[in-house]
């Protein structure tokens, strides 16, 4: 492993012990990140506003990425409320949304999940807003750990766009021909629910 990869590991990827929706123990770095192409988001299963949209978007992303998921690309959703997100609760949540293999939901010790959230930049400097966990549910990080490529896109974006972004990690050297600039009129279906970021009351 190169020094650079090692320093990225030290800086961002603590090897914490986490628990999956199948109640399996896994290590954050060794089992989930090392040598892999991944998507990372944060959620909690009782979240009613944003998480269901993001999750259903990600289900479509999983479809679009096809059989790459679970082989080349690994999807992870980390709990923002690990106390209530037991493996069983997460499993029900995953089944309800039609999540398929290759996408893992993770819980663990609250302080470990909190550390992960901060390491991976699911934060806001407004301390009151930071306490409102819904403010951390809209972001999807994607990356290729061995290549040290990391980016992010909105969980409420068009699934097609999210899937394209993940594809860059799989084939960073592929040519994507740009759209000509004669447009179709803006006609994209837009998600209706938007959670405006505000401090918790």
């Amino acid at each position: 492993m190169t020094d650079l990869r090692e320093s990225a590991r030290r800086r961002y990827f603590p090897d914490l012990t986490l628990r999956t929706q199948d109640d399996k123990e896994v290590r954050f770095y060794d089992d989930l990140i090392k040598g892999k192409i991944v998507t990372i988001n944060f959620f909690y299963s009782k979240c009613e506003d944003v998480c269901p949209i993001v999750t259903s978007n990600l289900v479509k992303v999983q479809e679009l990425l096809g059989d790459q998921v679970g082989r080349k690309v690994f999807m992870y959703s980390f709990s923002l409320k690990p106390k209530e997100d037991t493996p069983k609760a997460m499993k029900e949540y995953a089944e309800m949304h039609g999540v398929r293999p290759g996408w893992t939901f993770l819980t663990g010790k609250p302080e470990d999940l909190e550390l992960l959230r901060r390491k991976l930049g699911f934060t806001t400097p407004d301390l009151r807003a930071d306490k409102d966990v819904t403010n951390h549910t809209g972001n999807i990080r994607y990356g290729n750990e061995p290549f040290m490529l990391w980016g992010a896109c909105p969980g409420m974006a068009d699934p097609q766009w999210i899937a394209e972004s993940v594809e860059w990690m799989v084939r960073p050297d592929a040519v994507h021909l740009p759209h000509e600039h004669t447009p179709a009129h803006p006609d994209a279906p837009r998600p209706e629910h938007r959670h405006h970021e505000r401090p918790a009351a």
Partner: protein, 647 residues
């Protein structure tokens, strides 16, 4: 909880210590004590490399304690972000690099030969055929009279003699490979083509950050969409894009036929990578440079036209950047998981940390550019022996657009991607040493600390003792960016003297025309991403259609409260009609702009004329971290526009 710049959890005490060390270091740099040996000798450095609290070095050191979330009167804006902790470097030991001028090549040397339609089979990635030669082949011949070929590739660069050699990304015109890249000396009426080849290393050799996939935007160019360097028109290593720059005045095909509106003349442009989602990493890694555009008035010759100081000897582009270096390896570090904005503790000018420049006691034109990623600057001219003195200079251009007349100032503030051209007269400083100093207090990615006592109810920052913190640091206690060593020998100066000659440049184009539509853009943060009108960046969707050759007003509304966003709009310049319903108070803002600072709780009204070219363009925040986290949208210029009010 408190974290250091590497995201490691630290105690509150340790965090305070880090913040103090950071401040102390700034002060020590100002005092000229920057080598490890100096510091050890004075007992200011602990064995672990941490600067010790040094009560007594200055009055400020005793009182400058960090406000915390619990101290009364402090707000989030006043809380420092993760404090950078780069290794110590000496200041003012290396000369300022001057970027070489880009050299043309014969068009016959391009293989394959350039084509009007994209040569996709030959490896070109371009969205559409070149509009300019198709529109008017006599005005815009193909191939044009000037042709360049640049390759983007990795180079080894020394950014400080106290740091290891860095692998960065550069532009190479076949003669020089540098970062910042070669400076284009372009002329109105002389179209040019730049073949831009991506020769970056494979993705697995990016050195820790950076996406070897590029699209080069000519910032403030009145450029046809397919050559604009749209964020979505990126291409990987091994491919190229031919960019046709018409170097033509806006309005040439519409209201100022046939040559365009002279009052829309541009002068200081820059080029930079604009790869969607990866602009911050790629520009931080070095993919940027200057593009200076001249005409019959702004000639580059101080004996003709407006008689501005001669280019390039007395007219010097300065690219400012703040960066972080890994404390153990000394290698350039980029915070990959930052969402808010990245602040560095090392300040580079033209690719060197704190260089010096030997100048003659005469007038110089400097083109100041904030290359980001996130910091704002307020530039002062500081004489270390007379810290109380105001040293005025002249602002002659805002965002590279010459003002109606020079404006005398003692400081000027810019955000990321903004430029100011200034004239500094060193004639009264012969034999002295001066500094270009950034005295703006900014402690996190949100933007500068707000000014004191100006707006009732506005956030103000205070220290732990309740003392209000000004947005402007005392002279000599900011970031000394560049040292000017003024020689003692008197020299000839044929350039215009703004003080005595009262020159005038271009009148501002009229802004009273009735807009076809007034659109509103709300800049906000939604669930950990940055948004415009609740929407996020998506290369597959256009938000709205601007009608070709029409006037629009845009309202930019800051829904993020305390944050300041430098908002950039491609294709056409704008003028700021009002900030919170009053015309901008600063004379330098009565100008043409391409980036407007959207400050705390502001509503800014802009005036646009969209002319000549068709196609897709973005608007976005130029805090490149926000930009990469989706604070961007695409729009499109078409013969028939729409009237979507909140696109």
């Amino acid at each position: 909880m408190y974290f250091n710049v590497f995201g490691e959890k630290v105690s509150k005490g340790r965090f305070k210590q880090m913040v103090n060390a950071f401040k102390n270091r700034q002060e020590l740099i100002a005092a000229g004590l920057t080598s490890r040996r100096d510091l050890l000798k004075l007992g200011l450095l602990s064995a672990s490399g941490m600067l010790l609290a040094k009560h007594g070095l200055s009055a400020r050191a005793q009182t400058a304690t960090t406000p915390t979330s619990t101290s009364p009167g402090s707000f989030n804006l006043c809380l420092p972000g993760n404090q950078a902790a780069s290794p110590t470097t000496r200041a003012f030991v290396e000369p300022l690099p001057i970027m070489p001028l880009a050299q043309t090549v014969p068009v016959s040397s391009l293989s394959p030969a350039p084509t009007i339609a994209p040569n996709t089979a030959g490896g070109e990635v371009r969205a559409a055929s070149h509009q300019a030669p198709l529109l008017n082949p006599s005005m815009f011949p193909f191939p044009p009279p000037r042709v360049y070929q640049v390759r983007q590739h990795a180079i080894q660069a020394v950014q400080s003699p106290d740091l290891p050699t860095q692998t960065i990304w550069a532009f190479d015109d076949g003669f020089h490979a540098t970062s910042p890249g070669p400076t284009y000396r372009a002329n109105y009426g002389v179209p040019q083509l730049v073949r831009n080849i991506n020769a970056l290393p494979p993705a697995n050799q990016n050195g820790g950050f950076g996406m070897p996939s590029v699209t080069t935007h000519l910032h403030n160019g009145h450029t046809p969409s397919e050559s604009d360097g749209n964020p979505c028109d990126f291409y990987p290593s091994g491919n190229f894009c031919d960019q046709y720059y018409p170097n033509v005045l806006a309005g040439f095909s519409f209201d100022h036929r046939p040559t365009g509106d002279i009052n829309e003349s541009l002068s200081t442009l820059w080029y930079h990578d604009h790869r969607v989602d990866f602009t911050a990493q790629n520009t931080y890694k070095g993919l940027l440079g200057f593009y200076c555009l001249f005409n019959q008035f702004d000639t580059g010759d101080e004996t003709t036209g407006f008689r501005l100081p001669s280019f390039p000897q007395f007219d010097i582009p300065l690219a400012f950047a703040d960066k972080v270096y890994d404390p153990t390896t000394g290698l350039l570090a980029f915070d990959l998981f930052n969402l808010d904005g990245i602040l560095g503790d090392k300040f580079l000018v033209n690719g060197k940390i704190q260089p010096f420049l030997q100048v003659q006691p005469r007038r110089y034109r400097f083109r100041l550019l904030d290359t980001g990623p996130s910091r704002f600057y307020e530039f002062f001219l500081t004489d270390p022996n007379h810290l109380g003195a105001n040293n005025p200079f002249f602002v002659i251009a805002n965002d590279g657009n010459l003002l109606p007349a020079p404006v005398q100032v003692t400081s000027v503030r810019i955000g990321v991607a903004e430029r100011v051209d200034v004239i500094i007269d060193f004639s009264s400083f012969a034999g002295k040493t001066l500094y270009l100093e950034n005295r703006l207090r900014q402690i996190n990615g949100m933007g500068p600390v707000p000014p004191q006592g100006l707006v009732p109810g506005q956030v103000e920052c205070s220290d732990a003792f309740g003392n209000l913190l000004s947005d402007i640091l005392p002279a000599g206690q900011g970031n000394l960016l560049l040292q000017f060593r003024v020689s003692g020998t008197k020299v000839v100066d044929n350039s215009v003297n703004p003080m005595l000659d009262h020159p005038t440049f271009y009148a501002l184009p009229d802004t009273t025309a009735t807009p076809r539509v007034t659109r509103t853009f709300q800049f906000d943060r939604l669930n950990g991403q940055w948004s415009i009108n609740g929407q996020f960046m998506d290369c597959n969707h256009f938000r709205f259609l601007v009608q070709q050759n029409s006037v629009e007003n845009w309202i930019l509304f800051n829904a993020t409260g305390d944050w300041t966003h430098p908002i950039h709009i491609h294709l056409e310049e704008h003028q700021i009609l009002s900030r919170n319903r009053v015309p901008p108070p600063l004379a330098v803002e009565h100008s043409r702009k391409d980036v407007t600072q959207l400050r705390q709780n502001e509503r800014v009204l802009l005036f646009f004329r969209f002319r000549d070219w068709l196609g897709k363009y973005p608007l976005h925040c130029h805090n490149v971290i926000h930009e990469d986290h989706a604070m961007m949208g695409l729009w499109n210029v078409q013969p028939q526009g729409d009237t979507v009010l909140r696109p």
